[in-house]
Subunit: 399 residues, 3 copies
């Protein structure tokens, strides 16, 4: 009666997959099996279809979703709020300015104190290199401990809302966008994607997006070209993951030395600014030690260095080098747009305008990706949970 043909097929496909996500976390895509990644995409598909058909996906009647943002955020805040609300959870924000989280001991205590009736904890911690992922794993270990010892009656999952290594909710939303654009994950095989650095008048942007893209897209047989000016290397470990994935999937991973070279024949381009990781390391050290004079000097030097590469701008001329001159332009937003948000930026207004709505659609998948991660980490049998919720026959909105 409440079975929806299209959705039933997707649920059957999901039911056929074996994952070990239940009672675990979603921190780095490369820690997850191909089946687990496929399951996330399945659930995104199911939740998007349910939403479009006005079916409630409220699998939780009550429960908290804790958010912890160690960096400013609008998009991810709203994505997390939307995702948790979709499933029936209520966000409670852990504002560290109103508490103290200083050392390992207290992380352990905080993790337990906020989790008595909590189902998931979304954390954004991307400012300090070598810190964000570490913090999330400590937090997760404390939850394991509390759950094992019976302090917690359920084991909340930790969802990485961006760390120093990866940005899985972004890269999976990007992947879903590619699947929709190219008509299926199988169609991504052999497609060329250029993940390239681009100029921006700011110097401390995280590396997690490019790292997330090269490690994820290489799993699907794509031909991934990474380009950046000398000195703007990504974390070597993530480059190794990309190489391994490409080899295993029959895709390619290449490093090239200019935006033009990366764009050559590309089906997709993803031009985006990031900081060299040695600058991020230096910045982390100076911030920790509150050496503000040296921080100012570092910023000045880094910006001066950036300025040498102002020609790394995605514009019409460069776009003409892509496949048929019309590669898909991608960005995690907000983009630095030349003559719009700044004098010289990552992308010309002309290119951005052509793809503006496409980038919005790209972003639209993020709430569903987060919801999928929560569903898979919090239900031993996510298919049963969804079927039971569909069976309730509740509409998302009345009438």
């Amino acid at each position: 009666m409440n079975t929806i043909p299209g959705i039933e097929t997707k649920l059957d496909r999901l039911a056929s997959r074996r994952t070990a996500l239940y009672n675990r976390d979603f921190l780095l895509t490369w820690e997850q099996t191909d089946t687990e990644i496929a399951s996330v995409l399945d659930v995104v598909d199911i939740l998007e279809a349910m939403y479009a058909q006005n079916l409630s996906a409220r699998v939780f009647d009550t429960g908290l979703a804790v958010s912890l943002f160690r960096d400013q955020s609008t998009r991810t805040r709203f994505s997390f709020a939307s995702a948790t609300n979709l499933l029936g959870l209520t966000v409670s924000d852990l504002d560290e300015t109103k508490s103290q989280i200083a050392h390992g001991e207290t992380t352990r205590e905080t993790a337990n104190m906020i989790s008595f009736l909590t189902e998931t904890v979304g954390i954004r911690d991307d400012m300090f290199i070598h810190e964000g992922h570490k913090y999330m794993t400590e937090f997760a270990a404390a939850l394991d401990d509390g759950y094992r010892e019976g302090v917690l009656l359920q084991r909340p999952s930790v969802i990485n809302l961006q760390c120093d290594y990866d940005h899985p909710t972004q890269s999976l939303a990007d992947l879903q966008h590619l699947i929709r654009t190219f008509g299926g994950v199988e169609n991504l095989r052999g497609k060329k994607i250029a993940m390239t650095w681009a100029y921006s008048p700011s110097y401390g942007k995280p590396l997690s997006v490019p790292q997330g893209i090269i490690t994820l897209m290489t799993r699907f047989g794509m031909d991934v070209a990474l380009a950046h000016p000398e000195g703007y290397d990504l974390l070597p470990d993530t480059v190794k993951v990309a190489e391994r994935h490409a080899e295993k999937s029959g895709g390619k991973f290449r490093k090239v030395s200019s935006m033009a070279e990366a764009f050559e024949g590309a089906d997709i381009v993803y031009p985006k600014s990031w900081a060299p990781f040695h600058v991020m390391e230096q910045r982390t050290k100076l911030l920790r030690e509150k050496r503000s004079g040296e921080l100012a000097a570092l910023e000045k030097e880094a910006l001066a260095n950036n300025a040498k590469f102002m020609d790394w701008e995605c514009n019409d001329k460069l776009m003409r080098g892509t496949r048929d001159g019309r590669a898909l332009y991608m960005h995690c937003l907000p983009a630095d747009i030349t003559d719009v948000s700044c004098k010289n930026g990552e992308v010309s207004a002309s290119v951005f305008d052509k793809y503006r709505l496409a980038t919005y659609r790209e972003a639209s998948h993020k709430p569903f990706v987060i919801a999928a991660m929560i569903l898979l980490t919090r239900f031993a049998d996510p298919v049963a949970a969804l079927r039971s919720t569909i069976g309730r026959g509740e509409s998302r909105r009345a009438g």
Copy 2:
């Protein structure tokens, strides 16, 4: 079975009205037809009756309600939180101190980014004259765009929680208060209401309340007298709207030169401080240009000018001039009360005390007004939505 006689009659009346509110916004009352205003009042009535009878009005199973406050607020924050909660939505606050909204481009992007699973956006933007309403219309246009292009699967409504022109959730709550007090909207015809300036030791209060009152009450055949000291004019356009409405409804709109004259024979008095709009224009300019020295000078000058009109205080002596000496005193709260919240204020403690509970009742309608606006803008068939919710037979509280 779950049909409630009194409520059924109201639903039938609502069903008979044709409005074009679905998938639109509620920004200025004078943009809405008489039928649309009547529909809001109907829904307020229905929701208040349902609340009193412990019937759940949760027409949404999930969904976000975004709030954006560009000015401090307690009352309106809680009214919005209450209204959205009543309907089943969850508030997510867009805190601009944690993001950047600078130019048209970014308004468009922000509007889409926060709206993927959002049903309504409440905005308060009353600080800068000629800015608030403009911002809301830009925001709404961005939502139209995103919805038309398929970026958004639903088109959230924008609810004006106070702008530089109008304060519709306040004026409609005030109207509902008058209807309850005088026993029906038809009884308002011919009633005299004095909307008058009053002294307060602050200089930058918005004009939206008096503008909202003169434009709305003239639609119901009321006799509206506006009084203020020389130089404290309202926006000329809103005065023209009031004149037009009075003419059409068979009511009156007069400008008089003193509080005493306005109070003469009045059934209702609404004494409230506001800033001259030329001061607001100057203030907007100086704030935008961060000319803090001149701002201080402007404040000093404006306060000195205010002080010339310290006798514009609603007190027992003036109240004696109203009909039978007992006009209904109204205020949007908080009032500046002489010898209570300040040395000299808008109203004497003696008058305020007599009407304190009445002003609280006046305020009590605001959550229901906001809920009514959301319901009418978000449901093509609000009657069906309410009937389906009533049919669920869920109590607001168990037992």
Copy 3:
């Protein structure tokens, strides 16, 4: 069908108790009858059992829960968020930095303005001695007034989330922890509990926890020993309450002069820092008058005085004096742990580590205690409300 054997028995027991909590507040445990305290414990038990059995306790379909924190808080914020979410309410935070609450008049107005659709108001106000409880009673009186006059359609309850006198949600969570640890409330009779001051390198900690413990535990026939250095007296009125309770219940209340003496043969120890109340009085006065120079001097003097009692540390040596050398260690958290969170603290790392998980379990009851207070103050027939909710057969989480 949805009757759960264990829970049914507990519901029957609760049904047999007569309380006057409905439409009232929960401010001080010593204002409540023994039956009322027993009812809170019953409901805690029921809600914990329902949670463990995945039964939804959402007795409210909609409704607001207002929180007002006049002091920083993580634990209590999350407990309140969890408790209200468990029952189906949504938290709306009253942030006084975004409004003005100055004098009695405005407390009355604010209380009404935020309560039109509100079921409960949780207040933490523990910074100023002789102020917190006073504020809560004023707030509650305003709600009585508004409800009686028909401004409010329901009368929200005020829940004391910590005041200058008592911390009932903490002390009742502590009591539930003792009941669980010792296998029943009847087993607490005759048990020795040492409530003792302990050294901490901070000087302004509230007195509400020790006051809450001595007044509550003496009601259950426990043998309560209070120890603190000279000058660190609790409020005399609370000591009198403890004496009266001990006498009535057949328990004991003793003041002793050292931690060692209090620990002698103790079954339970609760070593915790607090400020002398005369220092708190002085501090309140200086803070109110913004005399920052004298505040700094007071802090210096108070810390110097604290430092004389650095040997008031709960360590292995002192623990050996307790019953069989293994009394239960308790703390409201966070504890000041020697060589972990500070150089010299309330407890040695060795003792704390042994009881770390126990203190987490102690804290885990707080959300359920708050939920119990809300349920009992907001439902004339809480058993019927719970039975009706259980009868709905809704799971807390699907599947």
